[in-house]
Symmetry: C2
Subunit: 407 residues, 2 copies
DNA sequence: ACACATAATAAAGTGACCTAAGAAAGTAGG
DNA sequence: CCTACTTTCTTAGGTCACTTTATTATGTGT
């Protein structure tokens, strides 16, 4: 199963992955795509059928011989719960194997509550969600928990996240796991969103991509050769703390000119306030950054010149950081996810796409695609849920697909 | 040997890697370090001995039972040639399995010669080097060829490198392979330098690190989990084109504020010329950037205030880009390689180290080590040579580098 | 000399793959 | 309908890199 050099048997997961993402598919096609022989696929598929994960659902047209049997996923056979603890909301989703949202719940964010209280709330919310859906608990594979900011995966705790500073070092993953009685997978929101995109099949044309996640801060989940990249100590993806001005503003993180200070919602809202004070923008501020940012974005989408300017400036700074990232690690697909893109995502996508086309070093070899997340506002929660499925059903698949293209 | 999921039998390579890097070592220790059983190690080691790659070289002290046999590499059993086509020199090295330089040759750079002429020159130079050393050609595993700038690994060609613009699209790797009659591995200098560090054992405490290479431009070789990261299309590591000022100088690459424009030798020399014009620096410029940069660096090391200021500014800009990179991909070791660090490397290392300690987001969890390459000025050429050894003898330990083989 | 410890090899088993050959299920021509 | 052919899927046996469990070699301490 797992050899000592860390490789892991994966053909079952790989096959499941392909069946899920490539709809009804035959054994022959699976063999072609994985590079495995039909004989091997045959036994792998039999295993998946006995596990109840897939079934045969009909036959294809004959091409002169025995027709192929179509294989399809049994979406309801396994379920997963995703929990995104964001700055202003906690979002819960229940998804099936196909990534379809079976249930959803959005509760107020934890704000200043202690992590212990928050864990209790999460547990009761999850319980309510499950019982409200009348689901057999045994079908639930596990719970994915994602939070913004730097985390320590080993201890399952948050580390100095600006919005949840007082949760630092609290063993969140373990606590949620015991409180809910479900196996708990823990990661940061940007990484989860990246996995979510993959699971939904939105990135099937790229094995390497970045999923930029902008909530209050800015992060990026990096998928390399079909594997989530976690870095040496899981502190990967702090795109918000890439500097766009070595002589610029001082960031609380210690660095100078962090793009977060120029492009993230708090920066945009601050700039909007200044514009408002100068009489260039007509907006009633609520004091809640997320809502005010949404208002600015809405105005920009409606064509307000000043709001448009503010959003474009944010997008351009963000794009500058993304260009640096692309030059550094050679990505050709950027997915935009997170609440900050829910209103003016298209504006961001256009600006970022344009700047990538003009500025990326390798643009002559291949351009960079920019897409908005297929998972909308729930990208992180949905990613959390799919993360669990990934972990349990396709442990290695976010890599094995490589083979298809191998010579 | 190679299963269809792209995994490759590697225990032999892994074992060789450990024997090479961890000096005389016993089978028992190998078993502990690899996680394989003693039985497996026993057979793997037998294979390496029959291949002539290693031998038993004595026994350890007994700890109450049968003493362990020491295993050691046979350095001379295999040789490799590394060729670095730089801006001002072509550097050739011949190394053995231990990474010891057996032969070395430095020839003038290709300047404006056509790639066809250059290939001919390289072939005769290699021939001269080999015959001068009286080496059995059959022991030569292959030739590693590295160049600055963006390359296309698939075609084995350079792509728009500033110093070798007219070589774009010429199938260099194939040409050198046929001209020399040696299997040819092709990559960029920064990546090669990173592999060189690994092979020399200088990074044995980190599985993930970056090797910053500064010649005329700035690149970085990224090793992730012990594997060289090549990116989706092998355009990874363009650290020089990370922006440090989104509103800054316009780079020929299309991007704005590229760190290369602030920190690389041409920028330092330009700044030195301005300082000289203002009478703040006493230096006779030769017009050759590499030599003038060396002069400035020498003055800085000697304590000249203005030169020190220039070098420090370069280091600070470079550090800013490195901080961004570290925040993005979570590295905890940075190696500095390339000719630009040969004089004032320690100055750069100090400045970069300081800024990383102050500015990296995850600094509370673990700091970032900064080291100067153990391979000095020949880091790229030496890396090229070790790349070949890596490819042929330890395919998996730094995951495979695609090959451009001669017929 | 003895018991005991440790190292290295041998032997047999396992899992994931392979190749090769057959069984099953269709089409096309007589 | 029968036969020939094609294509899909399964079965059977083999290989490879491991494993676990013994066995043999080579020491130390009493």
């Amino acid at each position: 199963m797992v050899d000592k050099l860390g490789r892991r048997s994966s053909s079952k997961g790989t096959a499941l992955d392909l069946i899920r993402s490539s709809g009804p598919i035959s054994r022959v096609e699976l063999a072609e795509m994985t590079g495995l022989t039909q004989a091997t696929i045959s036994t792998v598929v039999r295993g998946l059928i006995t596990d109840g994960l897939i079934s045969e659902t009909g036959r294809a047209e004959s091409t002169g011989g025995k027709p192929r049997m179509h294989l399809q996923i049994n979406p309801g056979s396994r379920l997963s719960i995703g929990v995104h603890v964001g700055a202003d909301h906690i979002t819960y989703v229940v998804t099936d194997l196909a990534g379809t949202v079976i249930g959803r719940l959005r509760a107020p964010g934890p704000a200043d509550t202690s992590p212990i209280e928050a864990v209790a709330t999460i547990a009761t919310d999850v319980d309510r969600l499950i019982s409200g859906l009348d689901i057999d608990r045994s079908r639930i594979v596990g719970l994915g928990l994602v939070t913004p900011g730097p985390i320590d995966k080993r201890s399952g705790s948050i580390q100095n996240a600006p919005t949840l500073a007082h949760w630092t070092d609290f063993p969140l993953a373990r606590a949620v796991g015991t409180a809910t009685g479900l196996p708990c997978v823990f990661d940061n929101d940007a990484t989860a969103a990246a996995i979510g995109e993959y699971w939904m099949g939105a990135t099937s044309d790229h094995l390497t991509y970045g999923s930029v996640y902008m909530g209050m801060g800015i992060g990026v989940g990096i998928v390399i050769d079909g594997s989530i990249y976690h870095g040496e100590l899981s502190n990967v993806g702090e795109l918000g703390h890439v500097s766009v001005d070595a002589r610029g503003r001082v960031c609380p993180c210690g660095n100078i000119g962090c793009v977060e200070l120029y492009a993230a919602p708090p920066a945009v809202v601050a700039a909007a306030r200044r514009a408002s004070a100068e009489g260039r923008l007509d907006l009633a501020f609520t004091g809640v950054v997320a809502r005010d940012f949404e208002a600015v974005a809405t105005l920009a989408m409606a064509g307000d010149a000043t709001a448009l300017e503010l959003v474009t400036e944010s997008a351009e700074y963000l794009a500058s950081a993304i260009v640096s990232m692309v030059n550094l690690i050679d990505l050709h697909l950027i997915v935009l996810a997170g609440s900050a893109f829910s209103v003016a995502g298209s504006l961001y996508a256009t600006t970022i796409s344009r700047m990538l086309a003009e500025r990326v070093l390798a643009r002559s070899i291949s351009g960079v695609d920019v897409r908005i997340s297929v998972n909308g506002d729930d990208a992180a929660a949905l990613g959390a849920a799919t993360m669990v499925l990934q972990e349990n059903l396709s442990p290695r698949s976010l890599r094995a697909v490589t083979l298809a293209t191998a010579p």
